[in-house]
């Protein structure tokens, strides 16, 4: 092989390598995808709404056994925990909770905190302020944004339930609890959120697995102006 040919070959290989690294970098910049809350269909104009679900096992991807959140994008469930919300806006959350429950590590999070009215609505009933994690089905997961003082406990489904969703995305025909609440978003910024139920079964203190892996039981609220 002549010198020009060798130089050309090296150049091509180098270019392919650089392109590959760049594509990988761009892929991870946008993964998991950020889901923007939609304009609310109820309430005053300017409000937003977002629909999420928590599942006992994702069922696919590199960690199919991890518990996880998913987000509804135009009727399609997407595996992501990055939610984009508009600043200084009322955002209505609806979360379908398909997992069984347990006691909380700290019952302090029995109380709904940081939502409008400091309440949540369970299965369309009356607003409630406290879910006792020591009774009934315990707490399945929480949606909490510590830096905003938001903490919403979500009851688990009955441990004896037979119609349990095992693989995401879960259809509404499976046993679940629907929790709704509203928060007022703060100024623009990136706010981490997470679940506080030790739901990473099989790991010390229940905080491994999906609890310690970004994109499953924690993520960011990307609040934009």
């Amino acid at each position: 092989m002549t010198r020009p040919m060798r130089a050309t070959a090296v150049g091509v290989v180098f270019a392919v390598f650089v392109a590959g690294v760049t594509m990988l970098f761009l892929y991870f910049l946008n993964y998991p995808p950020t889901v923007a809350a939609a304009a609310a269909t109820t309430g005053s104009s300017g409000q937003e709404e977002i629909h999420l679900q928590t599942v006992p096992a994702l069922g696919y991807g590199p960690h199919p056994t991890y518990v996880s959140y998913l987000a509804d994008i135009n009727g399609k469930w997407v595996h992501t925990t990055m939610f984009q919300l508009k600043a200084n806006t009322l955002v209505h959350f609806t979360i379908d909770q398909y997992d069984t429950g347990s006691t909380l590590r700290n019952s302090f999070m029995d109380q709904v905190q940081g939502t409008v009215g400091s309440t949540e609505v369970l299965n369309g009933g009356s607003p409630v302020r406290i879910i006792n994690d020591n009774t009934d089905n315990g707490i399945g997961h929480t949606f909490a944004v510590p830096t905003l003082g938001v903490s919403v406990p979500m009851p688990g489904i009955a441990s004896a339930a037979t119609n349990v969703c095992s693989i995401a995305p879960c259809e509404s025909s499976f046993d679940h609890n629907t929790i709704t609440f509203t928060i007022k978003t703060p100024a623009a910024g990136l706010y981490p959120w997470q679940c506080f139920v030790p739901c990473g079964l099989g790991w010390p203190y229940g905080n491994g697995g999906g609890m310690s892996t970004l994109g499953y039981m924690g993520g960011f609220l990307k609040v934009v102006a």
Binding site: R105, N106, S107, Q111, P146, G218
Partner: protein, 322 residues
């Protein structure tokens, strides 16, 4: 081994003259540096002056920084002198470059070296111990049975005359309990200015470290351990609280802002907080020094799990606080 070329020429300085020049430069640099460090930089050293513990730590940092100046100055002056005075000139022919004279032991120098360094270390040890003793641990986590305690401290939180704030770490947030106010637990730490506070720090899972930065309070939060620190906040304002022990995915987000308020505002805050969490308090476990996991994942579930063997819950009346 030396050669004639390496021996000092008649006009060259002797070792004693070199050492004299180095000594004078070191002395001047040390005095200037010590004054600058103590009086100019010192008042701006962390953690500031927002509490008695912070003031003590700042003073300690000033003293340690000042003591370090002569050591640093000696290294810098000697290095600079050697580079400028004993450097082989570039014009020196290669075959004339020779090694310097062999080092020989010097009993006086060795004795001085050992004596000065030993004196320095022992002095700092005594200084540090006195500082901890006279300042109730100077804001540091001192374990379950602190050696250096302030007046009014009692290992039983219910009997302590200090305001007890239990700091509970868990992956990944802080909560705060006030055993003398019926076991009230809150998401925000609020303490009154001018009152000695006993921070009882523990964890519900892994090792965290409670660091109230501008109050100068830092105590490891270990599961199963009640790590006690003391401090009196002096200035009304905010408290920068963070975790100082790498504790997992959201360690970097384990930050919160506390408040130092006037004693009157503190009582108002307690009243409001008790109203806010009135319904929640019965669901919380009884106050205990530590909280250990139960088989179901919870901690001392009321009526379900065995109760802890620690001290009983504190009095519900705020009047119990001095």
């Amino acid at each position: 081994m030396t050669t004639d070329a390496a021996r000092p020429a008649p006009g060259d300085r002797t070792d004693r003259q070199h050492m004299m020049r180095i000594g004078i430069m070191w002395l001047v640099a040390s005095v200037i540096g010590m004054v600058l460090v103590y009086f100019v930089w010192g008042p701006h050293m962390p953690p500031g002056t927002d509490s008695n513990a912070a003031k003590i730590q700042q003073f300690d940092n000033r003293v340690l920084g000042t003591v370090a100046v002569p050591v640093m100055a000696f290294v810098w002056v000697y290095t600079a002198y050697a580079l400028t005075h004993w450097r082989v000139k570039s014009s020196t022919p290669v075959d004339e470059i020779v090694d310097g004279p062999a080092l020989k032991g010097h009993r006086g120098f060795q004795a001085a070296w050992l004596g000065i360094t030993s004196l320095t270390v022992i002095s700092l040890f005594i200084f540090g111990t006195v500082e901890l003793d006279t300042n109730a641990g100077a804001g540091t986590g001192s374990g379950q049975v602190p050696i250096f305690t302030p007046t009014g401290y009692n290992v039983d939180a219910a009997k302590s005359k200090l305001l007890v704030v239990q700091v509970i770490g868990q992956q990944w947030r802080w909560t705060f309990r006030y055993p003398q106010y019926g076991g009230l637990e809150t998401a925000q730490m609020v303490v009154p200015a001018g009152q000695e506070v006993q921070y009882s720090v523990t964890s519900l899972d892994v090792i965290h470290s409670f660091w109230a930065v501008n109050l100068g309070v830092k105590a490891d939060a270990n599961p199963g351990v009640d790590n006690v620190a003391f401090a009196t906040a002096d200035k009304i304002g905010s408290v920068n609280i963070r975790c100082d022990e790498l504790c997992g995915l959201w360690h970097g987000a384990m930050v919160t802002t506390g408040k130092v308020v006037s004693p009157a505002d503190f009582k108002t805050w307690v009243t409001n907080a008790q109203a806010t969490y009135q319904q929640l308090i019965p669901f919380l476990p009884p106050y205990a020094d530590i909280y250990l996991p139960q088989v179901d994942g919870g901690y001392y579930d009321p009526g379900q799990d065995p109760l802890p063997s620690g001290p009983p819950p504190g009095p519900a009346s705020p009047s119990a606080i001095p």
